[in-house]
Symmetry: C2
Subunit: 337 residues, 2 copies
DNA sequence: AGACCATCTGCAAACGTGTTCAGAATAACT
DNA sequence: AGTTATTCTGAACACGTTTGCAGATGGTCT
């Protein structure tokens, strides 16, 4: 591998001069600079980031740890991160932890060894347990959609309360009086916040909260399906449901169909996430869009600001947008009490 | 940041001894070794990969360049890669190129600067143009599902010919005589191979190839939808279609439904990829599963073998598995001619 | 001519680690 | 006691780069 010294020898200058020439330093004569660059080109020289990092004490890398990169949701986020990282000449270390604390710790340790300049964490189930570990590191850490954003220094997340409100309000405005909530049984903070927003709207709209209209899934289609079945088995089932996420909504759609009912004729459904899938369910799913890409971009931008010494806002929340497709409509004529 | 020299000073030994102690070298006395490790622990020392890489001339990193990480298909592959990388203490640099040659070249250059030990490329549209660039690098490169695998030294890909055969055979065995093909209009090699397999089966089954039953989409639902519409407009439309991928199959399902026909009652549909989505279409999609995860694992394993000096097979192909769900059935009674 | 300045270049140190080699200390022999 | 073998440690160099400082070169001014 050709180094700076090799081309110094070839150009009959010192390696310092080569270093300066390649970095366009005004200190070096433009002619010699041109010669040096030409030789470097011919020899196929590329600067060694590892040599450079050793002296500059910066690696121009950021570590990203996510639950699973196969999840299209996090894929979008990483896409946004990568976009701004690339624009600023940063590279990404990617690690997945699959919600396994051991793996997460291992990933962070590895990042520490590699001397990343900053870390982005997107793994909503990791609690405050790891706070000490993360803080022990000397680099800025930013959490995306984390379970306990308040406890960490910097975070970017969606406004879950607002999302719950927007979804419930949409259904209330369509005239629904029996609006169910298909939650997530793992007691995630996101679930509680979405539920709160939903409940707020019910109170504000004088519909009132009806506890029997709440069921819990597991965040996956199967869980959504069985939770929906429980609601449909009620003497007076809901005419609309707001689901914790799109995955559960898909399960709900199936349960409703298998129950011999139609969407949105008999039951309206609202999801949350706006996965790619949501456009292609039958019928296409009305949902709250999480600004995944923007979330990734914003997270990376804030991290870069931190790295350049600025002091950006500690906790940023983004609001989701309601995407009305075809799973919501007014309640059936006979049930508009 | 605490370095090896700091703990050497604290332990009253030389930094060489510290280096050895932390790497469990048998050369150092076990008692002093214990003392050193204790001090290192107290000071929160973590070895610097950049310092180490400088002397070992290995970074224990591999660069992964993909089209888009938001694509669940590539997400699964990366998942597999990460799994074996982690197991071997390698870290992943991730870069996305969005099928943009400029970005791809930039990503590879960045990897080169960072002195990755090897590179995995998954971007099926990149042709032989970049071969020189890739070969100029001094590290092993392995291509996953590439457009022109033969031209590169190492590759892992799916057996597209076989996939086409399996899909078509499944439909032929159900009794279909008019089997359409919904291809990809961009002339990808994968499309041609899948088509060849399909055609082979038609000949072997004495059904014969009927050119009017072939239409081309764009690899996305919209394209699949309009291509399917063209087939349905034929005087004698197909009773089954094999689609280039699941995305087009989803479009086909929608076109068929909007045409007032049912799946699989009137038309059978087979996709290819087995995206997560495929389980949740209505009805659930029969498709050929691409072993995405395994492909990622295998790619990483082969690369690691290359890195350790072994000479594994140059070109590995994996066979996809037929997943029969509910979009395929015998043709309608009136059309079994 | 000498003083001064501007412009460029090289020397040397530093970053954190691994590794070779030589030598010190101790133990085990004759 | 003297020799040899064994076990451990430290000095020194290397890896590739950046950068402060000193010095060289050549030019301009008094």
């Amino acid at each position: 591998m050709v180094s700076i010294k090799d081309i110094a020898r070839a150009a009959h200058v010192s390696h310092s001069t080569v270093s300066r020439a390649l970095r366009n330093s005004p200190l070096v004569n433009s002619e010699t600079s041109a010669i040096i660059r030409k030789i470097a080109d011919e020899q196929g020289y590329t600067v060694s980031a590892v040599g450079r990092s050793l002296v500059t004490r910066r690696t121009n890398t950021i570590g990203v740890v996510v639950t699973s990169i196969a999840n299209p949701f996090v894929g979008e986020i990483v896409n946004g991160i990568e976009e701004v990282a690339l624009a600023h000449d940063y590279s990404l270390f990617l690690a997945t932890c699959h919600a396994d604390p051991v793996r997460e710790v291992r990933a962070v340790r590895s990042f520490q060894e590699r001397r990343v300049d900053g870390i982005l964490v997107n793994s909503s189930r990791v609690g405050a347990l790891y706070l000490p570990l993360l803080e022990e590191m000397r680099v800025p850490i930013l959490l995306i959609n984390n379970q306990h954003p308040g406890e960490f220094v910097h975070s970017v997340s969606i406004d879950n309360l607002n999302a719950g409100r927007v979804a419930a309000r949409h259904l209330a405005e369509l005239g629904h009086k029996r609006i169910g909530y298909l939650g997530n049984r793992f007691g995630l903070q996101a679930d509680m916040e979405r539920f709160s927003g939903y409940r707020q709207i019910l109170e504000e709209a004088d519909i009132g909260f009806q506890p029997e209209l709440v069921a819990h899934g597991d965040g996956r289609p199967e869980g959504g399906m069985s939770a929906m079945e429980r609601l449909l088995a009620l003497p007076e089932p809901p005419t609309a449901v707001f689901c914790y996420n799109d995955m559960e909504a898909i399960g709900a759609l199936r349960a409703i169909r298998e129950h011999g009912l139609t969407v949105p004729g008999d039951v309206s459904v609202v999801g949350l996430d706006d996965l790619f899938l949501a456009s292609y369910t039958d019928p296409p799913l009305t949902t709250i869009q999480q600004p995944k890409h923007q979330m990734g971009r914003l997270a990376a931008e804030i991290l870069l600001q931190l790295l350049s010494g600025e002091k950006p806002d500690s906790h940023v929340t983004l609001v989701g947008k309601l995407i009305v497709r075809q799973t919501t409509a007014p309640p059936p004529a006979g049930r508009r009490t």
